[in-house]
Symmetry: C4
Subunit: 374 residues, 4 copies
C-alpha cells in the first residue's frame, strides 16, 4: 500500500500472482455457489474451492505475521512490536480479516452456505494491489471539509424532501407514501437520479417538489464532482513532482544546476518505466520526445551498427532540435527508468533555461559529427 510495506517479504511472486488468483478463485466459487442448487453436482466442488482458498489465505497471514524481515527489526524495538504494527497497518488488518472470515462465519452462521458469505471481505485484498489508492485516500483527506459540507447539505435536502413528499402524497397514495421513512426511500432514489419507478408522485405538488429534488440532486453531485476533481488534480501534481524529483537527482546532467532550475525542470519532465525489449522508437518515425536514462540500459541501432547508452546519458534529442525523423531504432536492453522530455515541454524549457538546450545541442552536434546522432 505504501512505500513502507513494499518489498518486505521476499515472496514477491506470491504476493503479486498467487494471492490475487487465490482470492479471485475463492470469491468466484462463493458467488457461484449461491446460484447453484444445494443438491447440484457443482455445489461440493465450489465449496472445496472456497475452503482451499481460506486455508491458503490463513497460512499466508500466519507466515506474514510470524516472519519479521530484518529491516523491520532495525526500525522497531523487537519482533513483537513489529508484529503489532503489522496487525494495525491496513495490509495486516485486511490479511487478518481475510484469515478470520471463514472460521468466524462457521461460528456465527448455522448453515455452511451462509458461513461462506463471510469471505466477501477478501475483496478488500484487491485494494492492496492498487498503487493509486493511497492517492485516492489523500484526495479524500484533502477535500474532507468540503465533502462534509456537501454531505450536510445533501442530508438537509434529503430529510426535507422526504417530509414534504409525505405531506403532498399521503392522501393520494397512502399505500406508497404512507410514512416519512417510506418517503425517504423515494427521496434517495430521486436525489441520486436513480429513479427505480416503484414510488412516483402523483399530485401536482408532489411532482413540482420532485422536479426540484432532481435538479437539486444533480447540483449537489456536480458540486461533489467539482470538489473531487479539484483535490485530485492538485494531489496528482504533487505526486508527479515528487516522483520526478527523485529521479532527476540521479541524472548527472541535471545535478550541476541550482535548486531553482531543478524545480522548474522537474515540472516539465515525466517518468517512464520500460521493461527489457521495449522499442522506444523506430528509425524513420517522427519524434516528439527525448529521453534521459536514470537507470538501466538502451541499445541504439543505426544502419552502420549499434551503441549502448547507460545511466545519465540522453538520446532522441535530434528530432526535437531539428524536426527530423528518428535516425535510429532504440530498444531497451535492460529494464530502465527513463525521464521523458516531451516536445511541448522541451520548447518551454528552451524559453526558460536556454543554457540547458545549448548543452544538449553541443552534445547532439558532437554525436552527429561522430555519426551517432539519434
Amino acid at each position: 500500500m505504501d512505500r513502507h510495506t513494499h518489498n518486505r517479504h521476499p515472496h514477491a511472486w506470491f504476493e503479486s500472482v498467487v494471492s490475487p488468483l487465490v482470492v479471485t478463485a475463492g470469491l468466484a466459487a462463493m458467488i457461484l455457489d449461491t446460484a447453484v442448487e444445494p443438491e447440484s453436482a457443482l455445489d461440493r466442488p465450489l465449496e472445496i474451492v472456497v475452503i482451499a482458498a481460506a486455508v491458503v489465505l490463513t497460512m499466508e497471514f500466519i507466515i506474514r505475521f510470524w516472519t519479521v524481515p530484518a529491516s523491520w527489526l532495525r526500525e522497531y524495538h523487537g519482533p513483537w512490536q513489529a508484529r503489532v504494527h503489522y496487525l494495525l497497518s491496513p495490509r495486516g488488518a485486511i490479511d487478518a480479516a481475510g484469515a478470520l472470515a471463514f472460521p468466524l462465519g462457521l461460528v456465527i452462521a448455522p448453515d455452511h452456505q451462509d458461513a461462506q458469505l463471510f469471505v466477501i471481505v477478501w475483496v478488500l485484498k484487491y485494494l492492496l494491489h492498487s498503487t493509486g489508492l493511497t492517492l485516492l485516500m489523500r484526495v479524500a483527506l484533502r477535500a474532507r471539509a468540503a465533502l462534509f459540507s456537501v454531505m450536510t447539505l445533501f442530508f438537509v435536502v434529503f430529510v426535507g424532501a422526504a417530509t414534504l413528499a409525505y405531506v403532498f402524497e399521503r392522501n393520494a397514495q397512502p399505500a406508497v407514501f404512507g410514512s416519512v421513512p417510506r418517503a425517504m426511500w423515494w427521496a434517495i432514489v430521486t436525489l441520486t437520479t436513480t429513479g427505480y419507478g416503484d414510488m412516483v408522485p402523483a399530485t401536482i405538488w408532489g411532482r413540482l417538489l420532485a422536479g426540484w429534488v432532481m435538479v437539486g440532486g444533480i447540483a449537489v453531485f456536480a458540486l461533489w464532482a467539482g470538489i473531487i476533481a479539484n483535490a485530485f488534480s492538485e494531489e496528482l501534481r504533487r505526486r508527479d513532482f515528487l516522483r520526478t524529483w527523485d529521479f532527476v537527482a540521479h541524472v548527472p546532467f541535471f545535478q550541476n544546476l541550482g535548486a531553482a532550475a531543478i524545480a522548474d525542470i522537474v515540472k516539465l519532465l515525466h517518468t517512464r518505466d520500460a521493461s527489457k525489449g521495449t522499442v522506444l522508437f523506430r528509425q524513420g518515425q517522427p519524434g516528439d520526445s527525448m529521453y534521459f536514462i536514470v537507470s538501466g540500459e538502451v541499445s541504439v541501432n543505426i544502419a552502420t551498427g549499434s551503441t549502448t547508452l547507460g545511466p545519465g546519458e540522453f538520446f532522441g534529442e535530434m528530432a526535437l532540435l531539428f524536426g527530423v525523423p528518428r535516425s535510429a531504432t532504440v530498444v531497451v536492453s535492460r529494464s530502465s527508468l527513463l525521464l521523458v522530455l516531451d516536445i511541448a515541454n522541451f520548447r518551454e524549457l528552451a524559453g526558460q533555461r536556454p543554457q540547458l538546450i545549448t548543452t544538449i545541442e553541443t552534445e547532439a552536434k558532437r554525436r552527429r559529427d561522430a555519426n551517432l546522432a539519434i
Copy 2:
C-alpha cells in the same frame, strides 16, 4: 455560520453537543411517529420526545435572544439593536423558525400528528454547524450569472421538449401524454436522467426526441458541474490563502521576510489543527513534511530524553533536508496550530527562496551538533 457569530455565547458545549442531539432526537421521533399506528404503544413516547425537543429549542432561542454578550454592545448602539440584528442573521432566523415551528403547527393543523410535521424546519440547524457552507454560498454567488444562464437554457429545453413530446405522443398514448403539463412531468424525469418509467414515449418521433433530450440533459448538467467546479476551485484557493496568511504572520521565522516573499510562501504552506496527544510522527518513519508551530506546544522524544518546542519554532526539517527517517517521535503536548510544509512544496521553496532553506539548514546543523535533530 460566520466568524462574526462565533463564540458569542459562553455555552459553547450546549451549541456543539446538546443542541444537535436535541434536534436529531426530535426529528427522529417526528419521522418515526409517521410510521407507527396512532394507537401503537410507541406513539405517545415519540410525541413526548418531539414536544420535549420543541421546549428545549424554544428556551434556547429565548436565552440567545435575550442575553446580549458584552462584545455585541460595543458594536451596536443598544441591546435591542443587537437583538434585531440577531433575528435577521441566518442563525437567528433559523433559531426563531425552530422555536415557532411546533406552536405554529398546532395552530394551523387540526391534527396533533400533522402539527408535528412542522418541526422539519429544525433540519436547517445542521447547516449552522457546517463550517464549509459559507464557502458554498460564496461559490453560488461567484457563479450566479453562469448558473442563471444554464437554468434559462434548461428551462427552454424543458418547455420545448414537453410540448414536442405532447405533440408526438398524444394520439398513441392519450391517457399518459394527454396534455402539455403531463408531458412536462415526463420531460423533467427524462432531462435529469431519473427515468422512473411511468411515462415512456412509444412513437418513433417521441423516442428520437427522448434520445436528444437525454443527451441534452446530460450536456446541461455537465455544463453545470463545470461551472461549479471552476468557481469552487477558485474560492477554495482564496480561503486557504487567507487562512494560512493569518497564521504565517504569527511565526517569527517568516516575519522578517518582505511581503513578496510571504505571498509566495503562503501558497506553499497549509494549516493543521492538532489536539493534545496527537502523535505527529514516530521515530523511524519516513518523513514527508516539516512543521512550524503557530501556537501550542509539542514534545520531541528521542532516545536520550525529550525537549519541548513552542510557538515560532519548527521541527521535522531533517527528513526533508537529508531524506533520512524521523529521528524522534513528536507528540502534541498542548493543543496546537501548525503550519505544514510538504516535501513537494519544500523543494519548490528551495528553488524560489534559497536563503530561507539556508536558514533552516543552519538551524538543523546546530540541532544535529547538539544531538537534538528531529
Copy 3:
C-alpha cells in the same frame, strides 16, 4: 444578445419587462389550454390570452423591423440593409418566428387548439434576455472539436451496443428486443443512465453487455463534462479580464502604471454594479475588501458627519491595511460601478507591486489624520 444589438431601441422598459411578461402569459395559457376540456369554461379565456399575446408580439416585431435607429444608419448603407441585417441576427430571427408562429399554425393545423401549439417558439425569447448565453456559445465553439470527437465515440458505442443487445436478447425477449431499431431505444436509455425499465436485458450476455454500456456511458459523459468544464473556465477568465480592464482604464489611480502592472492588477480585481441605496458595509463590521469608484458616487457616514466620494477615489482600505473593523458606513448615493479588491488579492498585490500599496497607505494615513479614515 450581443453588445451590438443592445440599447438600440428606446423602448427598453418594453423589452425588459412587458415582452417577457407577454411571452410568459401566452406560453402559460397555451400549456394550460392543452389540459382543460374543449368545452370547459376556461378554454375560451385561455385562447384569448394566447391570441392577445400573439398580437402584441407581432406588433413588437413590426415596429422593431420598421424603425431603424439612427446609429444603424451610420453603420449600414441604407435602412433596408439594416432591416435585412436585423432579420438575419439571432434577435430578429426569433422575433420573426414568434410573429409568424400563430398565423402559420392556423394555416397548417386544421384545429384551432393545434394551431396554438406553434407558439412554443416564443420560449426562445427567454434566451435573448440571458446575458450569459453568448458566453455559452463561445464555450461550445471553443470546445467543438473535442465535443465532436466525444459524439462520434458515443455514436459508435451506441450503434454497437444496440446491435449486440439485439443479438443477445432477441430469442429471450422477441417482443421487446425484436429488431436493432428497438434495441437502439434500449441503448440510448441505458447509455444515458436514464433507465426507464421498459426494456431490461434478461440473458447473462445481455446483462454483461448492459453493465459495460452503463459504465461506458458514464465515462463518455464524464469526458464531456471535463471538456466543457475546461473550455468554460478559460472563457470565463477571458471575459472577466476584458471587463475589468475596461474599467481599470477609467480609474486615475491605476492610469500612471505601466501596461505590465495593469495586466497584473486586472487579474486581481473584480467588478461590481451597485444600485442607489445599496449599503456596501456598515460601521463595526469586519472588512475583507476595498473599493475603487469607476463611476457614480458613494456617501461615507461616520459618527462626526458624512463625506461624498466620486469617480477615481477609493475607500475601505483601513480594514485591509490594519485589520480593524469598518470605521464608517458606506452607502451608494448614485448608481455606481466599483472595482473590488479582495483581501486575498490585496495581499498578493502587496507582494507583486509594493509601491501601489505604499500609495494606498499614504492616502489612508492622510485620511486618518483628517479623521476621514474608512
Copy 4:
C-alpha cells in the same frame, strides 16, 4: 488517424466522402433489415445495399493494401514490410475487419440475415475520421493509473454491495434476489444510477444499503469525471501549444525574438483555418482580435479601394490599439492559415513584451498615414 497515415492515398475524396457514405448506407440497411418482415418487399433491396457496401469496402481494402505510396517505400525496407505495417496500424486493422465481416458472417451464421449483423464492425470506420480521437487516446493513456485505481475501487464496492444485497433481500424476495450473481445485476444498475426498477430492495437494511450504494456510485463517477477532466485539460494545452508553435515559426514577425519570448507568445495565440471567401470581419463592426497570416492571402477592402496581404503580414491591429470599429472589410482570397491574437491576450502581451506592441504600433501608424489602416 495520425499525421503518419494522412494523405498517403491520392484518393482523398474517396476517403472523406464516398467511404463514409457507403458505410452509413450499409449500416442503415442492415439495421432496418432487422425491423422488416423477412417476406416484406423491402427485405431484398436492403440486403442488396448491404452486399453492395460490403463489395465496395472490400475493394477499398484491397486497393489500399496493394498500392504502396512512394513515400512509404522510402520509410520501409520494401513494399511487403509497408503492407504488414498497414495491416497492423489501427486504420489497416479496421479496414481488414470491415472487408472480412460479411464473408465471415456467411461462414459462421447459417442464416443470411444473421450474417449481415457482422457488418456492425463498419461502425469503427467513423473513428478514423475523428481527428480528436488521438487526443482522447492520449488522455486515457495519461490517466490510466488513476482510472485503474477507480475501477478497482468500483469493483470492490460492486461485489461487496451485491453480496450484502443478497444477504438482506434473499428471504424477502427469493425470486428476485435469489443468488449473488442476480444481486450483481441489481448492484450495477444501482451503482450507475440507471435504476431500471426490475429489482428493488424491499427490506429496511436492503434500502439503507441501496442508499449508500447510490451515493457511493455517484462519488466514484465524480472521481472518474475529475480524473478525465484533469488529464484532458493538460493534454489539450499541450496540443494547442505544439500546433501554434509550428505556425509561429513561419511568421517572420516573430522569428527574430528569442526562444523565451516565443514560448510566451505561443501561449497567447491560437490558430484558425479560413477557407476562401470567408469574411473575417466587416467595416464598422467592433473588433476583438488581430490576425497574423501564416499562409494564404486576404483581401482588405476599404472605401477607397482594396489591398492584398500575404504570408507574414498582420492586420486588424487598429481595433485593439485604439478601440475603434473595423475600418475595412477583410475577406480571405486564398485559403489561409491565421494566427489570432485575442484582445485579452493582446493586453497580456502588452504587459509581458511591450517592445512587440511598439513594433505593431509603428506599423499601424505607418498604415494610418498611408490610409491603409485596418
